[in-house]
């Protein structure tokens, strides 16, 4: 289980995350929705121990990420913006990550196969397309066969096949009792994938609950989103289409 409690993150005079509280439960996919710059990535970065919270707490299974001894065996994460060195081959990239958490080389081959990159494993990452890079990131998140998945914009750059694969995969993971926290700004994708939804805007939670609860009284998740965030439908169409 992921528990974010009264979390605040300030940068100088800017408050990126403002007293955010929510829970992502095992066996469910929790969608973390918000416009660009709303505080989604910052919340996830604090959860994953990359940024230091100004106040509040972000716990995974009751512990801070920084306190996990071999974290990849508990949490698999995909970060938007953090990637492998382009000169390195994909298999070497996954190998160092696996070694750091005492995961054997057989698992590296397994995850490459799972995300459909087995044939491109020895290519340098610089030659990868955006979608292949995303698949490599997902492969890295799966290395430790973790109980918790934290994925920041996982379908960005993926082709329709890839998107469908991610959706099915996440559903399987949740069905197996795993906790999945999925950040995205793509409404349609989120409405087809998430069980629970947390909506953040200007660093504050403006709505949360089951997908049905949040969309109740609205034609779609997109309508609910813009109603809660005070945005226009036109802006919504542009963002959802990205």
């Amino acid at each position: 289980m992921i528990e974010i409690s009264d979390l605040t993150k300030r940068y100088a005079s800017t408050t990126a995350v403002d007293h955010v509280t929510f829970t992502a439960r095992p066996g469910r996919i929790t969608g973390f929705l918000g416009p660009n710059g709303a505080g989604k990535s910052t919340t996830l970065r604090v959860l994953l121990g990359l940024d230091v919270a100004t106040s509040g707490s972000a716990l995974i299974g009751g512990r801070r990420y920084r306190d996990l001894r071999l974290p990849l065996r508990t949490v698999g994460a995909l970060l938007d913006g953090a990637g492998p060195v382009p000169d390195r081959r994909a298999i070497d990239h996954l190998t160092w990550i696996a070694q750091s958490n005492r995961i054997g080389p057989a698992r590296v081959r397994e995850v490459l196969d799972l995300v459909g990159l087995a044939g491109a494993a020895r290519q340098r990452v610089r030659k990868y397309s955006l979608g292949m890079g995303r698949r490599l990131g997902i492969a890295a998140a799966l290395l430790g066969d973790p109980e918790v998945l934290v994925l920041d914009e996982p379908v960005n750059g993926l082709d329709p096949d890839g998107i469908r694969w991610v959706r099915r995969f996440l559903r399987e993971q949740a069905a197996a009792g795993r906790t999945v926290l999925l950040s995205s700004h793509l409404m349609t994708e989120m409405s087809e994938t998430a069980d629970d939804v947390v909506i953040i805007d200007h660093g504050r939670i403006v709505g949360h609950g089951t997908l049905q609860d949040v969309t109740g009284g609205h034609a779609s998740l997109e309508e609910a989103f813009f109603s809660l965030t005070g945005g226009s439908t036109q802006r919504g169409s542009t963002q959802a289409g990205r």
């Binding site: 990359l50 990420y65 994460a77 990637g83 060195v85 070497d92 190998t95 160092w96």
Partner: protein, 266 residues
Amino acid sequence: MRTVPAAARAELTKIFTLRSVWLITALVLGLHVLVNWSAMSLYRDAVDKIGPDGLIEIFTGERNPATVEMLDSLSGGSLQMTMFLPVLAVVISGQEYRSRQLGLTLLAVPQRGRLLAAKVLATTGYTLLVAVMIAAISTVFTYAEVKNWNAGLVTSPAAVRLDLAFLAYALLFSLVSMSATMVVRSTLIGVMITIALVAVTMTQILAMTAPAVDALLPMSAGRNLLLDPTLSTLSSGPRQAMLVLIAWAIVGITAAGVTLSRRDAR
């Protein structure tokens, strides 16, 4: 701390799978062979002309005790190459700031102390490997130069002491550059800091105007540690030089640790 060996192994894999590391290593070793090769005939001819007084004339008009001169040549040759080893350490350390890999590294090893220990171990291991190869190349060429006069010179206690001092210097200066790169979070600025530290010593400005300050610089300390005071003007003795290098490494690693723990991994 049981996870440190796994993290250090991962860091070594990062080093060995980075093309720029291989390229710089090959350049450094190739350059060292080339420089030694081009100077070999000069030294061999001078060794052939060592007289019964035991003096050698490498450069016209400069006659010095042959043993001292050839040991100085052994350590001086290696010393030149230590200008490049810290740059190698910068490239190793700086890979974290390309494509924001640091985020992935901290996901894998979130405990900053363990990560720093792993990085120090891995950088030490690789730098030591390259430094040993540099020392071996210097030794082979010096042996080729002196074998007809004193074949045992390169394995004498004095030569072994110089080799060990060189390895210590190469390692400590590399750790300083590695740490500086982690503090500034940029390969380019890390290289610039390293070049600045080398340049201040190489220009000899401080050595001439303020030798006490010069003695506190890492490359000056390396020079003071390795070269013979009867042949070169030095700004301190070898003991102080070693202390200076250790202090630089400790301060650098501490600063890198503080940066890693306190700052967000951006």
